[in-house]
Assembly symmetry: C2
Homo-oligomer: 310 residues x 2
């Protein structure tokens, strides 16, 4: 469950209040629902060997993209990609998608270009488009529902890390709005390759930015974190003005943040499928969110000012 862009800053009290309300009003009744609201995907007890993973994410005109800044192909690519990234973060394989599109009358003929982006992404991971909608709407939105599966022993939640676990991140971060948000390849294969070597104690995909997503993983696991700024792998696209701020807060990276128990760190590969896996910090017992500067000073990030790097 994501609550975003509802008019106030991410991580503020309004968003938290909504999530809390939703969680308390949507408590699952059914025994086969292993995880409902609160992780990258819902987890359903599917059969004796696999869980069913269900997720949805929407991209909305003037919120997630401007019609003049992105091609229809890119919008389609991203719309499916962000959902596949959620399945990747659980250690799973994406399988079947339903595509719900709202489109203004005057651009309806662009559905083929939009679908071309969706289909090209789907083919990368052998995802079938099995249904959906095309409805009139005053703004363009693409809302995708994706189902996947994960072998029970390979499921990784975001809530099961422990203090002392080491934090790693795949790829590099920052400036992804420039290009990567429309070209990224979700880390499905990388997640599975890592799990086959070392099972992370927790995992989350980086959609809202390292700072916000690390906090989500830490809070779900009942921990705090300490991240060493000098260790963060910064993308060449990161904003020149302040690359670290860019890597921490830009979002849209669609990389993975992993927590690895300290005793397993030596088995973790440093490169997977050509993608670096970089140690950046650790989870702490103390529930504070700390950034360590190279000069030894630290910042504690308060909830209210989470988006601000001070």
């Amino acid at each position: 469950m994501k609550v975003e862009e509802t008019g106030k800053k991410q991580g503020d009290m309004e968003e938290e209040k909504i999530i809390k309300w939703l969680k308390s009003h949507c408590l699952p009744e059914r025994t086969e629902v292993k995880t409902g609201i609160g992780d990258d995907t819902a987890v359903i007890d599917f059969n004796s060997t696999s869980y069913l993973l269900l997720t949805t994410d929407a991209v909305v005109e003037n919120v997630h993209f401007k019609i003049n800044d992105a091609s229809f192909y890119q919008i389609g690519w991203k719309a499916l990609g962000v959902n596949i990234s959620d399945i990747a973060a659980m250690g799973g394989s994406p399988l079947w998608a339903l595509v719900s599109i709202g489109m203004p009358k005057k651009i309806v003929s662009a559905y083929k270009k939009l679908y071309k982006g969706i289909l090209d992404m789907s083919k990368l991971f052998h995802v079938d488009i099995i249904g959906g909608n095309l409805s009139r709407s005053e703004i363009l939105f693409v809302d995708i529902f994706l189902a996947g599966t994960v072998k029970k022993k390979n499921l990784v939640l975001r809530s099961t890390a422990k203090p002392g676990d080491i934090l790693f991140v795949t790829g590099s971060l920052g400036g992804s709005q420039k290009r990567k948000q429309f070209t990224f390849i979700p880390r499905v294969r990388e997640a599975q390759a890592i799990i086959s070597r070392v099972k992370p104690s927790a995992m989350i995909d980086l959609s809202d930015g390292l700072a916000a997503d690390a906090r989500k993983l830490a809070e779900a696991s009942g921990c705090g974190f300490e991240i060493a700024i000098s260790k963060i792998p910064v993308s060449q696209d990161a904003c020149e003005k302040d690359k670290i701020v860019s890597a921490l807060y830009d979002g849209e990276d669609y990389e993975l943040l992993l927590a690895i128990p300290p005793e397993s760190v030596r088995s973790l590969p440093t490169i997977v499928n050509g993608i670096p896996v970089t140690e950046i910090g650790r989870l702490t017992k103390k529930k504070t969110f700390v950034l360590k500067h190279t000069n030894g000073s630290t910042n504690k990030i308060s909830k209210e000012k989470f988006r601000h790097f001070e």
Copy 2:
């Protein structure tokens, strides 16, 4: 897969062209996909006894409702109800829903009322809300993804009827925009009660109006139809000016249209859970769509003028 309200009249060539394009470009690769685009839900070979049913339907401001004509509670109720109705039409049971909402900033505090409608509908059928999104958007849309299951032997498609099969409809039709579109109870229990007595050869839920949906069932099954106007059960809400036109074309009834092999008709109950099940016509070998008037005259409805009663 539904294509609707894209700016031209339903049933016209533009809509058909889009559906045809989507079907041909989204051919399932995976062997477990039994039915992809083209029925009320997708059908996945789930395990040895049950199929997994997956569907999505969106309600969009200024297309499916006006913000001043419907309460948030009603919009929520309908948004989940239309999806449950799709599962009902396959003979299945709804289980887990993901709720994707786009909301303008100025009405975001109404999410509780919207959710109250969704949750009240979900409780009627023991559906769990297991995830979703709340995103900013310039218009309100509620897009729901619903998963369910059906015992393999109970699955009813829309494409498996035969010429000569008799058409029945549950409840009464027409004028549903007035009230019923926001208060209807999807016919899950009625469908299951019917299947336990007689398995229909095909079934579809009535969302676009009897004329359009009967055509969909007939075309998917490679048939035509003949409907006796005098037999159509007309709702007391149907438009006084022309009740039959209202019952044929208004839509939003969320009743079921069933095809029953002639030899099984005697086993079909005439009332299920207090809801009448009414014979209205039959499927024909000739692929025309015929309305029989009480005076014996008939209308053939051409594809191009399908929405018009002449």
